[in-house]
């Protein structure tokens, strides 16, 4: 129960941050990448603020404690493999982000303040995730 309530609390703070920052506003996100046109550099402040806060926070946590409050260990990814799957998938994600203006972290909170057309994006994204999982489960994709 503690883990569920703490995740709910973290989600509330995260979602409020997305909404205030403009990261859940496709017009603003697309303008960040439109340096040659209607450029809006606001997202530098979003990413900078999030990254610096997280980097300092993680450093303090990992330095002060050997385990989180409600679990026996930190679940931190250990893989260091940089392969075609990582680069190709990330490249593809960027293309979709550039077409729609939505990323998963922006779209979920946007559902709370602009349900439409956010839901259309999220349903399509869910379809894409299921499609990719199905492709990965095919026997021939072992080398992918």
């Amino acid at each position: 129960m503690n883990r569920i309530l703490s995740a709910l609390g973290a989600g509330l703070v995260f979602g409020l941050g997305i909404a205030i920052s403009g990261m859940g506003n496709p017009a603003k996100v697309l303008n960040f990448f439109d340096v040659l046109g209607t450029w809006d550099p606001s997202l530098i402040f979003v990413m900078g603020g999030a990254l610096i806060t997280t980097a300092i926070g993680y450093r303090v946590i990992f330095g002060a404690r050997s385990a989180p409050m409600f679990d026996s260990k930190f679940h931190v990814p250990t893989s260091k493999t940089i392969d075609a799957k990582l680069v190709g998938g990330s490249a593809l994600f960027g293309v979709g982000w550039g077409i729609s203006g939505f990323c998963p972290g922006g779209a979920i909170p946007a559902l709370g303040f602009a349900p439409w057309p956010t839901a259309l994006f999220l349903i399509s994204m869910g379809g894409g995730i299921l499609l990719a999982r199905w492709l990965q489960a095919l026997p021939s994709s072992k080398t992918a």
Binding site: G24, F45, G49, S90, G94, I99, I108, A110, I129
Partner: protein, 141 residues
Amino acid sequence: MVTEFTPYASLIGGVLIGLGAVILMALNGRIAGMTAMLGGVLEPRSPDAPWRLAFLVGAILAPAIAMIFGAEFSFSSPTTGALLVLGGVIVGVGVTYGSGCTSGHGVCGMARLSPRSIVATLTFMVTTFATVTLIRHGFGG
């Protein structure tokens, strides 16, 4: 379409995004990656599903609650419905193969200086920039 430059709101929002990630690590020892959180919906039988679902519910509820108290969040989707569907499917496939998105790789992974996340973030920032530039300005710039 021009959007207002909002350095203060964006910085405050960014710090809150980071705080959410720090809270989740301090209490549950977990990375605040939205791609992984979606597993809470897509794998309902996983032992991680309940807390992932709780994070998603919190992330959706916070802006809705703030609006009840009078907050306003600017929102505009300048693309067509067909492009939202196309972009959505491509994002879904991409984050699955790339094992993360802006939150997991761009914030949490970069904060840990994970080589995988640094490569992933640089890659999607470049392809997003290229895609937006191509769509809005064509091949000639």
